[in-house]
Point group: C2
Chain length 149, copies 2
DNA sequence: TGTCGATAGTTGCAAATGCAACGATATGCT
DNA sequence: AGCATATCGTTGCATTTGCAACTATCGACA
């Protein structure tokens, strides 16, 4: 967070601090509302967005940026909570489709207002639309490069 | 990472993905170089920057954005590795100063080239200086607001 | 068809994390 | 001074993470 360095290193340092600080607040807000942690939201949302509300484990892991083993356990918890299901896929007997359940859709919708309010309060309120575009574009390029490299 | 939403939510989503992706790579690079994880670097660097290479536990926790209990354990590990020490402070018998050791300074310097190379490769290379300034400024405002609110 | 290397997902185990509770000291107020 | 309240840092315990190993299946190719 010190400013006496080149702008890029500084940006990286601030990004780390911002992430840690804001995530901490968002998790606290979700917990206070008796809602599951952010990781659950990510999984539910990726599934909801996906064609048919279903995704292979490895693809889901890639999208939420989680190791396979961590996704296995996270999916276990979500499945215990009846928010997702695992179904055999017809064409590859090694794997499964994760499928969001009706209860999962409901939970995702229930979490969103709390999450959204925190994003607004902690992030959106403090930046301009132009800055947001810059951040989104720049970081998306970095992610794309990291995935390809 | 989908683009069909308002720029601010999109920026937030990309920020999360970028953080997860890049941190994963950086940790892997450090591990491959037989170096300690990023959290160790943060602590060492904050101490090195601080007046006298020392900081109270609670202040260090605040700067590295860690809960007190997590910092206690992290400091235990760093102390076991002789990279920091804990000293009683004269004016408050409740707490301690964390002090970076000579070995700690050496380790910090040893980690930096690896860390720096990854920041360059994964982040700096893909953004302009102007974008970096925008990211740093915008996120710093959010952090500041979050700390005050 | 049989074999080899890659991929899918899970599991065991050790390490790290988060939360609540605790002992100790400091601070403020009467 | 004496008591209530807040802060400092640590600890116990349950949960989550990370890594390496493992089983099962796939795909390619001789």
């Amino acid at each position: 967070m010190t400013k006496d360095q080149d702008p890029k290193s500084h940006a990286w340092a601030v990004l780390l601090t911002a992430h840690a600080t804001l995530i901490e607040r968002i998790e606290a807000a979700l917990a206070q509302a008796r809602l599951p942690p952010l990781g659950w939201y990510d999984v539910l949302w990726e599934l909801e967005k996906a064609e048919g509300g279903r995704l292979r484990m490895h693809e889901l892991a890639r999208r939420v940026v989680l190791s396979r083993s961590n996704l296995t356990r996270l999916a276990d918890r979500l499945e215990d909570a009846k928010l997702i299901g695992r179904e055999d896929t017809p064409h590859d007997r090694r794997g499964y489709d994760c499928v969001i359940t009706r209860a999962g859709l409901v939970m995702r919708k229930k979490m969103w207002p709390v999450y959204k309010a925190e994003i607004e309060r902690l992030f959106s309120r403090h930046i301009t639309v132009e800055e947001a575009r810059t951040i989104g574009d720049a970081l998306a390029r970095a992610v794309k490069a990291a995935r390809e490299g």
